[in-house]
């Protein structure tokens, strides 16, 4: 009988300090070297500590970094496609006299987030990074632009979490240990994970429900974190999904919880990364649609599906979908894999059209978005990132 998958790498990582250890570390803080980190990095340290990024135990060292860059695997051959790194400038390294073997405190806005046992301090080539991860060095690509702004050196090592970053969405935050207990309690043996950064339209709903037909449960896991202008705001996505689930999903079949990490827009590589993260949450399956984690025209529409053929050892089964739309002839929501019609017979749930209508305060056609969902979005003054 099928059971939930083992965490990626075989073991669910836990790098969270106990309360007693936390107190001891906090007492030692005045003497420790401190490194300021960004909010995105601080949140990713939390993701490492709670096993969301298992098997990582800290930011990558140079061996793993190069292996991820060139082979899409950690040095021990475990699939891993997105470098999780800690960038620090040469000036900081020089001024603070940082060296391998030091234990430093990672600080965000004055708050100690984690302590880091430095294993490695190394240089890297930003263009190589961009070329391999994003398949472009074009700085118009939001991921490339971010890499180009990183500091010039990287630090690798294991971390221990002292405190998390302020989380306005605590109510929606579950860690892998919690989702695994939850899925077990619900009696789910197969769970399909759905990654999103959008409020749901009809196409999303039918993708999820089609996958749910073959699995015990659905794990809707929106990415909450830095996004690009024009994307839906985090609170809008969550409220919209709550409304959709309340009205249109079986109560015991869907779980909504967030993933706090930034979007990298790395297309195919990020699809693998997203699948690994959902495997850690306990998903057996993962939905990969058209242009997953893409931006602009940097990736082919189904490149994020094709890349899965390179990972027979991923440990989570991808479910590939093409496009879902309303067909006037079929009289229902269908996909391009089963509907022979085209042209005026079909109504596509276009994100661009939906967005334009919502900006004008109009309800999109019901074939594109559930009116209940649209009304929730319209109840926000500014539903989009500016």
């Amino acid at each position: 009988m099928r059971t939930l998958p083992r965490p990626h790498g075989g073991r669910l990582i836990n790098r969270v300090l106990s309360d007693a250890a936390k107190k001891r570390v906090k007492d030692e803080l005045p003497e420790m070297i401190k490194i300021e980190i960004s909010r995105d990095l601080a949140v990713d340290m939390e993701n490492i500590a709670y096993g969301i990024f298992s098997p990582l135990e800290g930011p990558l060292d140079s061996t793993d970094f190069e292996s991820v860059l060139y082979n899409m695997r950690l040095a021990n051959d475990i699939p891993w496609t997105i470098p999780i790194i800690l960038d620090v400038s040469s000036e900081v390294i020089r001024d603070k006299k940082l060296k391998v073997g030091d234990v430093v405190a990672l600080i965000y806005q004055g708050k100690p987030i984690a302590r880091l046992f430095i294993d490695d301090i190394y240089s890297y080539d930003k263009k190589e990074y961009a070329k391999n991860v994003f398949k472009t060095t074009d700085v118009k690509h939001p991921g490339v632009s971010k890499v180009m702004q990183y500091a010039d050196r990287l630090i690798g090592g294991k971390i221990e979490l002292i405190d998390g970053v302020n989380n306005p969405f605590e109510k929606y935050t579950l860690r892998p240990l919690e989702t695994r207990v939850l899925f077990k309690e619900k009696g789910w043996r197969t769970v399909v994970g759905f990654q999103t950064r959008n409020a749901p339209h009809m196409g999303h709903e039918y993708v999820q429900k089609t996958a749910l037909t073959f699995t015990d449960g659905l794990f809707i896991n929106p990415v909450i974190g830095k996004k690009k202008p024009g994307d839906f705001k985090d609170e809008v996505i969550l409220k919209a999904y709550e409304e959709l689930i309340n009205h249109y999903y079986l109560k015991d079949k869907a779980v909504l919880a967030i993933l706090r990490t930034e979007m990298r827009y790395a297309g195919p590589r990020e699809a693998i990364f997203h699948a690994i993260v959902r495997k850690n949450f306990g998903c057996t399956h993962f939905i990969v649609g058209r242009d997953h984690a893409g931006v602009g025209n940097y990736y082919g529409p189904y490149e994020a599906q094709e890349i899965f053929s390179e990972f027979p050892d991923l440990g989570i089964t991808p479910i590939f979908f093409k496009e879902f739309y309303y067909c006037k002839k079929c009289l229902g929501y269908v996909s391009s894999q089963i509907c022979p019609h085209s042209g005026d017979d079909i109504i596509r749930p276009s994100g661009t059209i939906i967005r334009k209508m919502l900006v004008k305060g109009e309800l999109p056609p019901k074939e594109m978005m559930r009116p209940e969902v649209a009304r929730v979005i319209l109840s926000f003054d500014k539903p989009f990132v500016e």
Binding site: L12, S62, L182, V255
Partner: protein
Amino acid sequence: MSEKTDKERKHTTVSIPIPLYEKIKKRIEGTGFTSVSDYVTYVLREVLASLEEEEKEEVFSKEEEEKVKERLRSLGYLD
């Protein structure tokens, strides 16, 4: 960063019987595999992953489970 290629950095040699090598060479003709090594790597990864999948074990203790259930109830995920 080192200038070694990934092949130099990451690969070693294992021996397989020549007839098996020939069989694989024929099998991968017209597929996406560009070498016998790539095919053998793929198959071995697949086999090892499925063996590891059979060795499943619970990732939490009874005690942890009870503590987690309390939080899940407080958040409304469990009744």
